[in-house]
């Protein structure tokens, strides 16, 4: 999904895995004006060897729309050169990617802050739900939302200090 103002961004919600380096290559290809690229990749951890897989349920349509809404806010708030967000759904085994936020800019601060902002809102406002499937346990358990994640997201609504 793209938008014309102020820059284009890319949002994908997909079952299949992604290649981080391929995504960052697309953002930097044929450009000499980019001074910073900040890439956050969220991975499925094995919880000390206990986890069989994470299952991510999502709300098709709303997931893309919510991520795009926050991507739009990010490109309006920070002077980004490019932005790619990918979120997976379905069953994800330990070691695989779950989410990617990659932001490019002329200078580091905008790229760092935009990626941080986007991850905070992805965790609390994008309609995805994680279920943990543990080894040796037949039923999965829904992961509970953390108050800390809400507090992280709330940081961005405070008056902006410059």
């Amino acid at each position: 999904m793209t938008t014309s103002s102020p820059i284009d961004f890319k949002v994908r919600v997909q079952a299949e895995d992604f290649e981080v380096s391929a995504e960052t290559d697309i953002l930097t290809k044929d450009r000499k004006d980019i001074g910073a690229i900040v890439t956050f990749t969220g991975l499925c951890r094995d919880e000390g060897g206990m986890l069989e897989a994470l299952e991510l349920e999502h709300y098709p349509g709303m997931a893309e729309a919510q991520i795009s809404k926050f991507a739009q806010q990010a490109v309006e708030r920070w002077p980004l050169s490019g932005l790619t967000i990918i979120h997976r759904y379905g069953k994800i085994p330990p070691g695989e990617n779950i989410v990617l936020v990659s932001a490019t800019s002329a200078h580091r601060r905008a790229a760092f802050e935009a990626a941080d902002f986007l991850m905070d809102f992805l965790k609390t406002q994008a309609p995805f739900w994680k279920k943990e499937h543990l080894k040796d346990v037949s039923n999965g358990t829904w992961v509970e939302a953390k108050a800390l994640d809400d507090a992280d997201a709330a940081r961005w609504t405070l008056p902006k200090s410059k």
Binding site: E57, I98, P127, W129, W142, E144
Partner: protein
């Protein structure tokens, strides 16, 4: 009106989506939760703590006092845990 349920609300109601005729007495998303909770044990279990449930109307987040007018789709789900 289409109603959708996600995560443990889907499991507890035993339904991922359904179409209902909205009773005239139900004006808000909060009243819709109370009406659904009265249907059977599964729905009662799903909506036993309405304060924790998140609501979307036509794929936008809303609160429990949202007035259902011209609404096509309402979704109920737990706090989100993506990222």
């Amino acid at each position: 009106m289409k109603i959708r349920y996600f995560a443990w609300l889907r499991e507890r109601t035993g339904t991922s989506e359904e179409t209902i005729a909205l009773p005239e007495t139900v004006k808000t998303t909060g009243e819709l939760m109370s009406w659904l909770a009265a249907r059977d044990e599964g729905y009662a279990f799903a909506f036993e703590q309405p304060d924790t449930i998140r609501i979307a109307v036509d794929q936008e987040h809303v609160e429990a006092d949202y007035v259902l007018s011209g609404t096509e789709e309402v979704a109920f789900f737990p706090p989100m845990t993506g990222g």
